[in-house]
Symmetry: C2
Amino acid sequence: MKLCAEDKLLHELLRLVPVPQDQPLGPGDDCAAIKCGKPGTLILLKTDCIAEDVHFLRSHDPAKVGWKALCRPLSDIAAMGGTPAQALITFFSPPDLDSTYWIKFYRGLGRAARRFGVTIAGGEMSRQKHGIAVSVMLTGHIDSKHLLTRSGGKPGDLLFVTGQLGGSIAGHHLNFTPRLQEGQWLAKNIHPSAMMDISDGLGTDLSRLARASGCGFEVNPESIPCRKGSDIESALSDGEDYELLLAIPPSKALLLQKYWPTAFPQTRLNRIGTLTPPQPAPPNWPGGWDHFEKN
Amino acid sequence: MKLCAEDKLLHELLRLVPVPQDQPLGPGDDCAAIKCGKPGTLILLKTDCIAEDVHFLRSHDPAKVGWKALCRPLSDIAAMGGTPAQALITFFSPPDLDSTYWIKFYRGLGRAARRFGVTIAGGEMSRQKHGIAVSVMLTGHIDSKHLLTRSGGKPGDLLFVTGQLGGSIAGHHLNFTPRLQEGQWLAKNIHPSAMMDISDGLGTDLSRLARASGCGFEVNPESIPCRKGSDIESALSDGEDYELLLAIPPSKALLLQKYWPTAFPQTRLNRIGTLTPPQPAPPNWPGGWDHFEKN
């Protein structure tokens, strides 16, 4: 299966640096998972970022941009089934930006932090010549027996997605709710064999989950839940959905479909396909957003 | 004592977000210190960043920029007396930059990681429209009884600095060695009452240490160790020294001055002054580099 340019570069870069050897999960999953000296508990580490004109515009409400900045890595903690803890905020501020921008930004960030139980433990601020950029580092924790990765899928596992996909640019990308409750519930009650969040589009992200699990996949395009105003192509390629993609053995599917509607009456859960033995992606399967694709 | 514009903005922003309440150290010191569930051990969290044309130029060797990116937050871990552990790297890459830049950058980053016992546990990459920027998140750990902060200084404590100050721009800022060994040795053997790293210039950073400790200070300008080619003004104001500034009670000074030369024959240690009861900064005391000073 084709690696996107971003994943290729990442693979190359990680060969040049020492990576954790004796830890449950190093780079390459939604979060790293690190032993913390307390038996049965793992610390989750995640870094994420947003840049002006890529993830948001100067004209967007800074409070919404602050909400988004924190909720993006929260979506990765959700994908591991984890509970978030502390965030550290780094921002780059261009000379033409007044510091009131950051006050509004921190209001939105603070709203997300209070809502999802995160405290801001530190940060760093710097000038840069052009453009606003923000990086958020987030810690979390999880019982080691509940940890979910993207690499545990098996041929025959059924594929599900939460919510709806596509057309995020119309507004969802600035006001989405990370699926923390859903992720924690799934980790404790169902324990999918693999889970990840959909941030670069189902096209890219399902390919990633399948590759990490050593599988191929089949999808019924008509079962993909499209957000209002979007179509299947857009659901596969747009990105910024911040929904969960999970693989579960057929034996657990009945349990999941029985209890989900009671646990999360507001959140759709759609079965979209199946993991298979390794095979090429379906014809015309699109990639999603790729920061390092040559044009 | 006057707050620099950067500290004022930080103070204002931190009022808008929840900060850790039941932890040994929240935002405002060199690192945050967080309980990890293992009695007697604290986790250190630090984020730092560098931006093109502020901290480095496009013409600088990318491997040296990679070294610097990791060594800057290592200097903060050093200032707590801590031992570094995992780093997460976020980089913003402009469209006019070839990905070979990042390969060279990661070589230098990897060299620093191996040298100082850090593993790279994750990261994130993004396009941005203009300019290179990098944020590094670093974890570390420390025995809670050895933790050093900038707020424990007392009137009468003697002030020391390691190494030499000023003129970093001539090269030191790209190839310095973070004072990890010195910081750990000091934490275990001397336990200064306050310590921090000097990154924004002694002018700004001594003011910060004194303010955090509720003290004033007196400095003998002639005792400030100036790097070759720099003068006292430059030693106070240039920044990017990555040396340690420490305050210790006079009772420990003899011990320090006796054992330091054997422990660190290559690293100078100069006594530069004294903490006093709260009082205004000396006349003409300069601030150092301030990212948010109005021009």
